[in-house]
Subunit: 197 residues, 2 copies
DNA sequence: AGGTGAAGTCATCGGTTGATGACATCGTCC
DNA sequence: GGACGATGTCATCAACCGATGACTTCACCT
């Protein structure tokens, strides 16, 4: 018969998948450096040496996990209510996602660093940039990077153990707060809030 | 004679000081984990094993460096123009300071984590909190943590290599941008910018 | 049924880290 | 000047890391 039986004792595709999932979780929770291939193997219930076989190295597994997450795409223009909500929900469920950690501290590994930087721009900075360009906002790229960086700080701060209330706060409340300030719709034209003329 | 000659070949106080300075710099540049005691010794021009003698361990040296920086106190209420400027200047000169890194990712070492968390609150969150309380802002503690976290994202993002324009931007421009949004004076009372009635 | 290659296991390598204790050297004080 | 404590140097340890290659075990096909 075909090799698709789910209970197979030996199943390369399944092992590969489990490694990828475990890696994605752990990289998100602890970051790249603090995650060991032995940790990944343990969580996946798979021998860690298979990482080398199926992905080549820890770095390449990281990049693969990054690309696998790209499909789920919980990122986009943060000014859309639904997107912003998704970003918070996802961060709550999955921990602080490798993507965000690079926004805040470079990785030692050059390949991993560059792959993450690229993904961060595609999925977070670029949508913001396009919106600012569309709206004719001043300094659109700088502003997109600024908003992305600030939002990263908030998302990561919720899981850092350094901010108690921020961690406990309801995502909806946070979104309301952010929308009134950082994500204020008319930023760039009104340096301060004032009466529209 | 007394033991205060500056050119002494053996001088515990001087070695201690050099270790402390080098540690402060490196912890700021690379964070706690990625800084090795050998790195610190090399930069200080002092044998790394003296760290154990003078401070007890890498962790205790980290905590000592944290407290030594507290004296310089470039932190405070971010709504004061001068303070905000200082924060940016300092981050540009010294790199992203250990304090900020904990706002974004917990440390493995529990003692180091807690010491940093406490310092972060004292020097960044608490001044903001007091201001919000003074102004009668809604949810002052949450709001202080939110602003601190967002600001941390911006400051760290400038050195992460992930945001080109943010890294290259003039601090003054950034402050202007932030003041119009995240640090908007009347946040908390006007969820959106609109005409005052 | 038996062979063959894929899938999984295991021992181990070289490198790095924080820490430790033995040792050498210098300065000071009697 | 000689002894003793402070200061600095060195070799080394145990733990952990990513990686590798040899080995075993299974599934499938003829």
């Amino acid at each position: 018969m075909s090799g698709e039986a789910p209970g197979r004792r030996r199943d390369a595709a399944r092992s590969r998948e489990r490694l990828l999932t475990a890696a994605s979780e752990l990289f998100g929770e602890r970051g790249f450096d603090r995650t060991t291939i032995r940790d990944i193997g343990r969580r996946a219930g798979v021998d860690p040496t298979l990482i080398a076989r199926y992905f080549g190295s820890k770095t390449l597994l990281y990049i693969a996990a990054l690309q696998a997450e790209a499909g789920e795409a919980a990122f986009a223009d943060l000014y859309e209510d639904e997107r912003l909500r998704e970003v918070f929900d996802r961060a709550d469920r999955r921990g602080p996602v490798p993507l965000l950690q690079v926004a805040v501290r470079p990785l030692d590994d050059p390949a991993a660093q560059e792959a993450t930087r690229a993904a961060l721009h595609t999925r977070l900075v670029e949508p913001l940039h396009e919106r600012f360009v569309r709206e004719g906002t001043d300094r659109p790229r700088l502003r997109a990077e600024l908003v992305a960086a600030a939002m990263t700080g908030v998302l990561l701060g919720r899981h850092s153990g350094a901010f108690d209330e921020l961690a406990a706060a309801d995502p909806g409340d946070l979104i309301d707060l952010l929308r009134g300030t950082l994500l204020s719709e008319d930023q760039g034209r009104h340096p301060r809030c004032r009466a529209p003329d």
